[in-house]
Assembly symmetry: C2
Homo-oligomer: 200 residues x 2
DNA sequence: TCTTTATGGGACTCTCATGTCCCATTATGA
DNA sequence: TCATAATGGGACATGAGAGTCCCATAAAGA
């Protein structure tokens, strides 16, 4: 897969699955929020969260899979947007990594929705799904290793997955009120950099 | 609601965790394996995995929630067993933590099943569910902090959740063949202790 | 061996979510 | 104002899974 990841929504009129109407965005946002929390939530809940009738929801997205796919696309788009803003290639790897974490936390619902369900078959056949944010983050890790700030023995893919896992954990705790939302990114960053061990 | 779990309709078997009829244990094991991978898998899949007819499954566990609850109980029992063997209180906190990680990885399916689904309402009212392995692990973290080997600024609850998250991540990667199973515990331990930063 | 028990398959009902269709109501805009 | 489009609710059909029941068969025990 070329790293021309699908994040970047089409300008207009997508042929299938994503009917781009008036505020399809509101529906997609609602879908991300609801489905991030429970991927098997009935569409009636999504419609309710989007403050639209179930009929209207079906009018925009004929079937569930279409909605899922469109939400996934939108998620990649949102994540791509904040990743853009995070300027991954600029500055030190350490700084970049911190910005990346903050970016992910910022669009938490989208992240959880898009990468939260490990056993998801719907996206397996998506053109750009297989491997989200394919190289960018592993490249960042490698850069950090080259700079001597990241553990040179760590598998970059493992490191990236750890980053995601920590972001998830933080968002989850925040969602339960076990931790203020603004504390998530710092906690993730600190743990990512040092683990829970002491600085020797 | 009390533990009105319908399992165990005969008198011999005895206490919790152990098992009810002939090989209810096999069914529970199958349930854990299947449901850890997909919590919404139909019961027919569980029955198939257990090499039992759907009728028989329903004979042991009248309804889905009952099966879920029993599997959860069994999971706690299994985890408790390996935690016992891990002798959490003995030795240095660092060594104990390593044994704990290994123990969790060892009973991976049970762990994933029991703690994998964040949005699960079935167990909320379970007698002992609210807070699994309640104090033991947070105590371990505190002990490590007292010994000066764990970050004194880390919230013990956060540290424990990180431990779980890393175990999950490792098991997931192993399940996909992205990492040999025997490498999971070491990777988790290393990351837990040092993060992905370099030892300064 | 004969008896008792457990098993598994099939058939059935029930519930819930999905997807479709229709229509009255409301918003939008010319 | 009137005309058009969008909305939301209700009614309906469909399909999947859960849960129940029954019965022929296989296993276990006396």
């Amino acid at each position: 897969m070329e790293h021309a990841v699908g994040w970047r929504h089409d300008e207009h009129g997508e042929p299938e699955g994503g009917g781009a109407g008036p505020d399809a965005g509101a529906i997609l946002r609602a879908a991300a929020t609801v489905l991030a929390h429970d991927r098997n939530a009935p569409l009636s809940e999504v419609a309710e969260a989007a403050r639209v009738g179930r009929s209207t929801l079906h009018r925009y997205f004929p079937d569930r899979d279409g909605l899922l796919a469109a939400t996934y696309e939108e998620a990649l788009s949102e994540i791509g947007r904040v990743m853009e803003e995070a300027r991954v290639e600029e500055g030190s790897a350490l700084e970049a990594m911190r910005r990346v974490v903050a970016a992910h936390v910022e669009v938490g619902d989208w992240v959880v929705f898009a990468f939260g369900d490990t056993a998801n078959e719907v996206f397996d056949d998506a053109p750009d799904a297989a491997d989200p944010e394919p190289e960018i983050l592993t490249d960042l890790v490698r850069r950090g290793q080259a700079e001597g700030v990241f553990d040179p023995d760590a598998d970059p893919a493992w490191a990236v997955q750890v980053l995601w896992a920590l972001v998830f954990t933080g968002l989850e705790r925040a969602g339960r009120g076990q931790m203020p939302r603004h504390a998530v990114a710092p906690a993730v960053v600190r743990t990512l950099e040092r683990g829970i061990g002491v600085r020797t």
